[in-house]
């Protein structure tokens, strides 16, 4: 169960952010946590031909951030965390740019690992983002993958 001192910070951002700086600030803000787990997702750089040249994430204002906030509340209720940070990009990104950062701080590391893992699985498969990739100069929309639903089923 979550204590009274935990904090949650959920952001939907439309410009580049610096995951290392965010992790440093988050860690410093939770001195009572023994451990911080973070996941950073970035646009892959593919050296081979056929790689992604750019990625665009679209969101829907009335739904996307409110649902991210609900997910964060679920995570805080399920694991004992000192703090939870969720930052998700929207807009057009280049290879190497960060897309998402989830960080959890907890007294015992098992909570932070599970919380960040769970949050990522649900952000990936349930949050309201539509993605298209530019490959060979042409944009194409990305459909859901079977694995995403399998990832989520682990938690049910």
């Amino acid at each position: 169960m979550s204590g009274v001192t935990n904090s949650v910070d959920v952001r939907l951002v439309t410009t580049a952010f610096d995951p290392a700086r965010e992790i440093a600030q988050f860690t410093a803000a939770h001195p009572a946590a023994g451990g911080v787990v973070s996941f950073t997702g970035q646009v892959r750089e593919d050296s081979q031909a056929g790689g992604v040249e750019a990625l665009e994430l679209r969101h829907y204002g009335p739904l996307t951030l409110p649902e991210m906030e609900k997910l964060a509340a679920t995570v805080l209720g399920r694991w004992d965390l000192e703090g939870l940070l969720v930052i998700h990009r929207s807009g057009t990104m280049q290879p190497g740019e960060p897309i998402v950062l989830v960080a959890g701080a907890s007294r015992h590391r098992r909570d932070a690992f599970a919380a960040v893992d769970f949050a990522m699985d649900h952000l990936k498969s349930e949050s309201w983002f539509w993605k298209r990739e530019k490959v060979g100069g042409r944009w194409r929309w990305i459909e859901p993958r079977h694995e995403d639903f399998e990832d989520i089923r682990r938690w049910q």
Binding site: G41, R44, R58, Y60, G61, P62, L63, P66, I99, K124, S125, E126, S127, W128, F129, W130, K131, R132, W141, I142, E143, P144, R145, E147, D148
Partner: protein, 82 residues
């Protein structure tokens, strides 16, 4: 007296635009009656969800539309390769 339609993800390609204003009608069926048949087929596809003014609607027949309502058509969200 109008409605605003919002097309997310691949539905934007089907509509040829991200948003469209249409005259106010009372039901979703009447909205569909005024759209191109190919677009209607895409909007009616399995797993496309509808939000009216940011609230997900379970039954397409249920809402009674009002002036200024925003209807968002939401295809399945994209998976992540990561």
């Amino acid at each position: 007296m109008a409605l605003k339609l919002v097309f997310l993800g691949r539905l934007e390609d089907a509509a040829g635009e991200a948003e469209r204003k249409v005259p106010l009608v009372a039901t979703i069926e009447e909205v569909f009656a005024g759209l191109e048949p190919e677009l209607v087929a895409a909007l009616r596809a399995d797993r496309v969800k509808l939000a009216v003014n940011g609230v997900l609607v379970r039954d397409l027949d249920a809402p009674v539309l009002r002036d200024g309502d925003e209807l968002a058509f939401l295809p399945p969200v994209s998976g992540g390769a990561v």
